[in-house]
C-alpha cells in the first residue's frame, strides 16, 4: 500500500492503495466516482475512458502509480453542470439506449474535438473505433459528435 495525492476533476484526493491498482478501480471503489465504467479490463471496449491531461486514456490500464501530477478528468468533471457541448449534443440526439458505454464514448469524443474541432466522418470513426456500444448507437454517436463540433 502507498499514499497518492491525485488531481481529479480539479480537486486533490489522497488515497492509500496498492500502487498497481488501475485508476478505474481507484475512481470507482475508493473515490466513489462511478461514472467511469468497467467493461473489459483489457483496454478493448473503451467504457473506462478518462482524460489524463488532454488525452483520452483507458483507466483500466493506467496504474495509480503512473499518474503523478497529471490532471485527471472523469465524466463527472467534464463540465460543471453537464453542459459540455458533447454532453448537450448527446442529449439533443438522445443517443443512449442502455447508456452504460456512453460515459466512455463522451470522454473519447470530447478529447477528439479538443485536438480536432472539425473532424471528418472517417476521423470520427477512427477515433471512436475503440469504444464498443453493444446496443448499436453508433450512427447517433457520430451525429452527436458532428452536432457538438458545429456548436
Amino acid at each position: 500500500m502507498a499514499t497518492f495525492n491525485l488531481n481529479i476533476n480539479g480537486e486533490t484526493k489522497e488515497i492509500d492503495v496498492d500502487p498497481s491498482t488501475p485508476m478505474l478501480w481507484v475512481l470507482r471503489d475508493h473515490i466513489k466516482l462511478v461514472g467511469t465504467k468497467y467493461g473489459c479490463g483489457i483496454a478493448q471496449c473503451g467504457a473506462c475512458t478518462i482524460h489524463l491531461g488532454d488525452n483520452a486514456v483507458r483507466s483500466c490500464q493506467l496504474p495509480v502509480s503512473a499518474v503523478g501530477e497529471q490532471e485527471i478528468t472523469t465524466i463527472e468533471g467534464l463540465s460543471e453542470n453537464g453542459d459540455h457541448p458533447v454532453q448537450k449534443a448527446w442529449l439533443e440526439i438522445d443517443v443512449p439506449q442502455c447508456g452504460y458505454c456512453q460515459a466512455g464514448q463522451i470522454m473519447t469524443a470530447s478529447a477528439l474535438l479538443k485536438r480536432n474541432p472539425h473532424p471528418s466522418d472517417t476521423e470520427i470513426e477512427t477515433a471512436m473505433n475503440g469504444n464498443i456500444c453493444r446496443c448499436g448507437t453508433y450512427t447517433r454517436i457520430k451525429k452527436a459528435v458532428k452536432t457538438a463540433a458545429e456548436s
Binding site: T21, L33, C98, G99, Y100, A103, C135, G136
Partner: protein
C-alpha cells in the same frame, strides 16, 4: 372515449397501506440521490411537501408534480420513459411535471415485471392506461365534490381541473389529497387514439442527463456502508466441476476477507427455465475492493475434475421435465460434424402440407442450401453483478435483472426465508439481450451475503461473464426448393436443428403460402448452457430463410420483393393449412413500405441491395440494405427499415431501438462467435470476441413505422433477425459470393 372496466389488474388500484409513499421514497434513496438537481433541471418548482398516493403507479404532490412508477426492468429498450408516458397521457398531465421512479418488484401491484419477449409495452398497455385514467377520474370526482357540481361537467387538461359553468378551477396538486380518499371507480373512460397528446410524440430518455454526467444508475454502481465485494471462480470448461482448492495465499492478500466454495442450488431444487447455471459449485473470493478480489482470484490454486452426466429436474412454463447435461469436454469441430450428420438424417416432422416428395420428384429445378450459426455470448457491456444484504429475517436485493419475479422464489428457497421477506429492486441495466433473464447471480450473492452476514456486491469480470455459459445456441439448417418448368415455387422443405434446441418455427411464413411444404427438426444435447438471446431462434432462422428466398427468386428470375409478395398474396387469399401464425396482409404491408421508402423500383442507385422481411414477437419488419464497394471492401452505406408494431409510443426512441437492432444484427452475423476446445470457450474477452465497431456500422439508417391503430406489439427484438438476411443478400450482389455460415468474416473480408 371508450369506457373500460377497471377490473383487470384491479389489485393495483386498491390502496395498499404497507406501501405508503414515504416507505417507497426511502427504498429509492440510492437511485434518487441527486433528485433535487434533476427536478431543477426539469424546470419544475420545488419538491412537494407531501405526496398523495393515488394508486400503485402514481402519486401526486401538493404542488401538482406527479411521480410515475415505471414497473419494468430497463435494459436499454427505454421503458423507463415510454411506460410512464402512457400513464401520463391518460392522466392528462404535462410531461414536464412528471418525475419517474423505478418501481420495486411487487407482484401484487404489477403484472409481467419482465424484460423479455418484447412484451413490456404490449402486456402493460391496458393497465398503464387504466392507472392514468383512474387517477384522472378520481381527481375529477374530488373536484366535483369540492365544488358541488356534476362530475361529468369537469374537464381535466394538462394537470388542471376546470368547471366552466361555475368558473372553478384547480391544479391536480390542490385536489390530490381529496382524490386519494375517493373510492376507486368501477369503470373509467380511456382516451381515443386521436386524443393522445403524449403517446406518439418523441420524448427524451428520462435518465439522459444522469447518463451523460456519469451519475450512479447501474447495478455495478451500487455503494453501501460496510459493503464487501465478491467475485467467483468457476470451472474453466463446460463438463468440469470443482475438485479441491487451496486458498492459503489468496487469503493472505491485502483486503481479502474470506475464500470459500458455494453451492448455488440444492440438488433437489426444482429449477425453472430461468434458473439455468452451468456451474453449480463455485469458489467465492470476498474482499474490500474489486481490484483486490480480482487479484486474489488469480492466486487461487484450484483442482478441477471432469463432471459426470447430470440430469436436472426443470419446470419449463408449467411442463415438468428432465434436462440432460451429458459428460465430456466438447469441441466446435465435433459440433459442426454432429450437426451435419443429424441434418443428413430424417428429422422429426413438425409440419407437412400437400405432397412435397412428389413436388420435388417432378421439379424441373431443385435448389438446396445449408446455413449455420455459432454460439454467441450476450456480452452486455455491464457484466453480471448484483447487490444483496441478507439478515436473519430479511433479504434486500438490488441490481440488474430482467426477471425479478421469476428469481424471487429461488432466492427465498435458497435462503430459507418466506417469499414476502425477499425484496428485489431493479437498477438501470447496462444491456440485457436475454442474458439477465437467467438470474443465478442473484441467488449467488444472496447466499454469500447470508453466509458472511454482510452487505455484498457480486461482480463478474468480463472473462467470468463470457465463459460462464447461457449462450445463444448453435444452429444448422438446410433449405430445399422445387421449381417447375415455369419457375413457379412448387415446394419448400426446411430441415433444421441445433445444440441444444431447434430454431424451427414451422407455422411461420412461407408455411401457408405453398401447397407443398415440409418442416423437420432435431436437437443435440450438450453440457454447454444456452439461453434466450435477442429474438431467440428467429435470430438464426430468419437470416437463413431470407437468404434462401433470395436464391429462389434469382433462380426463378423474379424480383426478390415480388416473389415474397406473390407468396404472401397466396397466403392471404387462399392460405394452406390452419395453423399459420402470421398476418399475411401486415407482412406484405412492411414489404410494400420498404419498397417505397428505399426507392426499390427506381433501380439500385449504384448500390448493391439486399432485402429481407420477418415476423416475430407479433411485429413485422422489412429491411433493405445497401452496400457500396470501397477499395474492394464492402461498406454498408444505408439500411432502410419498415416496421409494423402497432401504435408507437415514443417514435424517436423506437427509431433508436430499431437502429440498434440493425447494427446488432449486422455485427453478430458478420463478426461474433464463441468456439470451444476441450469444453473451454476460446473467446473470453473482446480481444478475441469481435463485436461490431463504429467504422463497421451502416453510414445511415432510416426507419419507417406503419401507421395504424393496432395495440402495440413487440419492438426490442423484431428488427434484429431479418437484417442478417438483407446483409447476406447485399453482400452477394456486391461480391458475387453467397454467405451461408456465420460469422461471415470467416468466409469473406471485413466490412468498413
Amino acid at each position: 372515449m371508450a369506457s373500460i372496466k377497471t377490473k383487470i389488474g384491479r389489485r393495483a388500484f386498491i390502496k395498499n397501506t404497507s406501501l405508503a409513499s414515504g416507505g417507497l421514497v426511502l427504498g429509492f434513496s440510492f437511485l434518487n440521490s441527486c433528485k433535487p438537481k434533476q427536478v431543477a433541471e426539469m424546470a419544475v418548482q420545488e419538491m412537494p411537501k407531501e405526496w398523495f398516493e393515488i394508486n400503485g403507479y402514481l402519486k401526486i404532490g401538493d404542488n401538482g408534480l406527479v411521480t410515475i412508477l415505471s414497473p419494468n426492468p430497463e435494459i436499454g429498450q427505454n421503458v423507463r420513459t415510454s411506460m410512464p408516458m402512457i400513464v401520463a397521457d391518460e392522466l392528462e398531465i404535462d410531461w414536464k411535471d412528471v418525475l419517474v421512479e423505478q418501481a420495486p418488484l411487487n407482484t401484487d401491484l404489477y403484472s409481467w415485471q419482465v424484460a423479455g419477449g418484447s412484451r413490456s409495452i404490449s402486456s402493460s398497455w391496458q393497465s398503464l392506461r387504466m392507472a392514468g385514467a383512474t387517477a384522472r377520474q378520481m381527481l375529477k370526482e374530488a373536484a366535483a365534490k369540492a365544488w358541488q357540481v356534476p362530475v361529468g361537467e369537469i374537464s381535466a387538461v394538462a394537470g388542471k381541473l376546470t368547471h366552466e359553468v361555475s368558473g372553478n378551477s384547480a391544479g391536480y396538486g390542490d385536489m390530490a389529497s381529496a382524490a386519494s380518499q375517493i373510492a376507486v371507480p368501477e369503470e373509467v373512460d380511456l382516451k381515443e387514439r386521436s386524443e393522445f397528446s403524449i403517446i406518439g410524440t418523441s420524448r427524451k430518455n428520462v435518465d439522459g442527463r444522469k447518463i451523460v454526467t456519469g451519475q450512479p444508475l447501474f447495478g455495478l454502481d451500487v455503494q453501501r456502508e460496510g459493503m464487501l465485494i465478491a467475485t467467483l471462480a468457476h470451472p474453466p470448461a463446460f463438463g468440469m466441476q470443482l475438485k479441491s482448492f487451496d486458498a492459503d495465499s489468496a487469503k493472505q492478500m491485502p483486503g481479502i476477507k474470506d475464500v470459500f466454495s458455494l453451492k448455488i442450488y440444492d440438488d433437489d431444487f426444482k429449477r425453472s427455465a430461468f434458473h439455468h447455471t452451468a456451474f453449480n459449485e463455485v469458489i467465492v473470493v470476498l474482499g474490500e475492493s474489486t481490484w483486490q478480489v480480482m487479484q486474489a482470484k488469480k492466486a487461487l490454486k484450484v483442482e478441477w475434475e471432469n463432471a459426470p452426466e447430470v440430469s436436472v429436474g426443470m419446470s419449463m412454463f408449467g411442463n415438468e421435465m428432465k434436462v440432460n447435461f451429458p459428460a465430456g469436454l466438447e469441441n466446435s469441430t465435433n459440433h459442426r460434424l454432429k450437426m451435419e450428420e443429424l441434418n443428413a438424417r430424417k428429422g422429426k416432422v413438425v409440419r407437412k402440407d400437400g405432397n412435397p416428395e412428389a413436388a420435388f420428384k417432378n421439379a424441373s429445378k431443385v435448389i438446396e442450401r445449408s446455413y449455420s450459426a455459432p454460439f454467441l455470448a450476450h456480452n452486455t457491456m455491464e457484466p453480471m453483478n448484483f447487490f444483496a444484504n441478507v439478515t436473519d429475517d430479511h433479504a434486500e436485493l438490488l441490481g440488474p435483472t430482467q426477471t425479478p419475479e421469476w428469481m424471487e422464489p429461488a432466492i427465498a428457497e435458497r435462503l430459507g426465508l418466506p417469499i414476502e421477506k425477499v425484496d428485489i429492486m431493479m437498477t438501470r441495466q447496462g444491456g440485457g439481450f436475454g442474458r439477465r433473464l437467467y438470474g443465478h447471480f442473484m441467488v449467488e450473492v444472496a447466499a454469500i451475503s447470508q453466509k458472511v452476514k454482510a452487505p455484498v456486491k457480486l461482480v463478474y469480470s468480463r472473462e467470468d461473464d463470457m465463459s460462464q455459459g447461457i449462450y445463444r445456441p448453435s444452429y444448422y439448417a438446410t433449405y430445399r426448393a422445387a421449381l417447375d418448368a415455369d419457375n413457379n415455387l412448387t415446394a419448400l422443405h426446411v430441415k433444421t436443428g441445433g445444440i441444444p434446441e431447434s430454431p424451427l418455427f414451422a407455422n411461420r411464413f412461407p408455411a401457408g403460402a405453398l401447397d407443398n411444404y415440409l418442416a423437420e427438426d432435431w436437437t443435440i444435447e450438450s453440457n454447454i448452457t444456452t439461453g434466450a438471446f435477442r429474438a431467440p431462434r428467429s435470430n438464426f432462422i430468419a437470416g437463413a430463410e431470407q437468404s434462401f428466398l433470395d436464391e429462389v427468386a434469382e433462380a426463378a428470375g423474379k424480383d426478390p420483393i415480388e416473389l415474397r409478395l406473390e407468396l404472401l398474396k397466396r397466403a392471404q387469399e387462399n392460405p394452406v393449412g390452419e395453423r399459420n401464425d402470421y398476418d399475411a396482409a401486415r407482412y406484405a404491408g412492411v414489404l410494400e413500405l420498404v419498397k417505397e421508402k428505399s426507392n426499390w423500383e427506381s433501380g439500385n442507385q449504384g448500390m448493391n441491395r439486399g432485402v429481407s422481411a420477418y415476423f416475430c414477437h407479433d411485429s413485422y419488419v422489412a429491411q433493405v440494405l445497401d452496400i457500396a464497394m470501397e477499395k474492394d471492401k464492402p461498406v454498408v452505406q444505408k439500411v432502410t427499415t419498415a416496421i409494423d408494431c402497432g401504435i408507437v409510443i415514443n417514435p424517436d426512441a423506437a427509431t433508436n431501438l430499431a437502429e440498434g437492432g440493425v447494427v446488432d444484427g449486422i455485427g453478430h452475423a458478420m463478426y461474433s462467435a464463441i468456439t470451444f476446445k476441450d469444453g473451454a470457450p476460446e473467446q473470453k474477452n473482446f480481444d478475441k470476441y469481435r463485436l461490431i465497431r463504429h467504422s463497421e456500422a451502416p453510414k445511415s439508417i432510416e426507419t419507417h413505422f406503419v401507421q395504424n391503430d393496432i395495440d402495440p406489439t413487440g419492438l426490442g427484438e423484431p428488427p434484429f433477425p431479418p437484417i442478417m438476411g438483407a446483409l447476406a443478400n447485399a453482400l452477394y450482389k456486391a461480391t458475387g459470393q453467397r454467405h451461408y455460415h456465420q460469422p461471415f468474416i470467416t468466409e469473406k473480408q471485413v466490412l468498413g
